[in-house]
Symmetry: C2
Subunit: 200 residues, 2 copies
């Protein structure tokens, strides 16, 4: 197969992400979000929120990472962000196997480069990866907040569980982390998110 | 409204692109593509096909343009690429009005910058814009080819009409234009695209 044919096969295989459903419920009309449109929304958010990344962050690289970050779900599907540890371990193994297969559809030089971006994102190994991960965590909170609770209600998620994810946002961007923290506090006050259980 | 709030309002409004349906039929499962997942697919293709842009093309800028290029469809909807001239004129006016409204949701400095990228894309005013437009024209051809004709069949589109769009791909990338030309010729041979009417 020639180089362009391989690249187009990769692009066609990637297109299957449009059929991967996420937990996030969209409003108007209400339906589950798919991983392709989710990835697009993140790239757009990264462009609009670029100024909240640490100085020197390469936003072009952030956007590339976000365009690629969910490709593994073509094979592995999407796992709910609040899934248990055993499920998360299984998911990580499935995603690594998917990365091995999917990036290898590309010509070898590109396969190495794209896989490198995916690994960097997964390992939060750079300011770019941490900012991209922050955007990836923030977007579903915004959707849940807009939907009056969304998957928080559906799965009985409490504020302490959401706050644990806010830490990852703060790690990528102090400002976006602060915003997410206030969003969670407001959701608890509004009754759209259950409070943390009382201490002993 | 503070700056971050405006940016997040913009991102939320942009999210409505997930509800805008395009003509393109996806396979597996068969349904119309929406403009958000379409935009994502184009950003991914731009990354995978970057080497076919003219030397010196800024692919980060291409990807930013592609992430933004369909935002106006939140108000204006998607128009079939083979629509008549009157419809196309009306659509352009509706898209400009939409750009005026939607980019103005952002803080003024960003509104100017994002609108500038959109204008550049529309006017094909740079190598980046012409490459982005080439990708935007190529992707539906790949989907139609994969779907055994897709919207070509549905709307009785002939090879001469598709070839007129190939010219725009060639203008952005000689290699991708050549590929598109061969794809059209193959589709005619396969019977998935009607040939041009015989000359006089």
């Amino acid at each position: 197969m020639d180089r362009l044919t391989r690249q187009l096969e990769f692009a066609a295989e990637a297109g299957r992400l449009k059929a991967v459903q996420r937990q996030t419920m969209l409003t108007d009309p209400p339906r589950r979000e798919n991983s392709a449109e989710h990835s697009w929304h993140l790239t757009l958010m990264a462009l609009a929120l670029a100024e909240y990344a640490p100085p020197g962050t390469d936003i072009g690289k952030v956007v590339s990472m976000l365009a690629l970050h969910d490709l593994v779900e073509v094979d592995a599907g999407d796992l709910f962000v609040y899934a248990g540890e055993a499920d998360q371990r299984r998911q990580r193994a499935a995603e690594r196997a998917a990365a091995d297969r999917i990036f290898a559809l590309l010509p070898p030089d590109q396969a190495v480069r794209f896989r490198g971006l995916w690994d960097e994102f997964e390992e939060r190994a750079s300011a770019e990866a941490r900012f991209a991960r922050a955007i990836d965590r923030l977007q579903p909170m915004l959707e849940n907040s807009k939907a009056g609770g969304g998957t928080w209600h559906e799965h009985g998620i409490r504020a302490d569980q959401v706050m644990a994810k806010v830490a990852l946002i703060e790690d990528g961007s102090a400002e976006l982390g602060g915003y997410a923290r206030r969003l969670v506090e407001r959701a608890v006050r509004d009754g759209t998110l259950a409070p943390a259980p009382a201490g002993p």
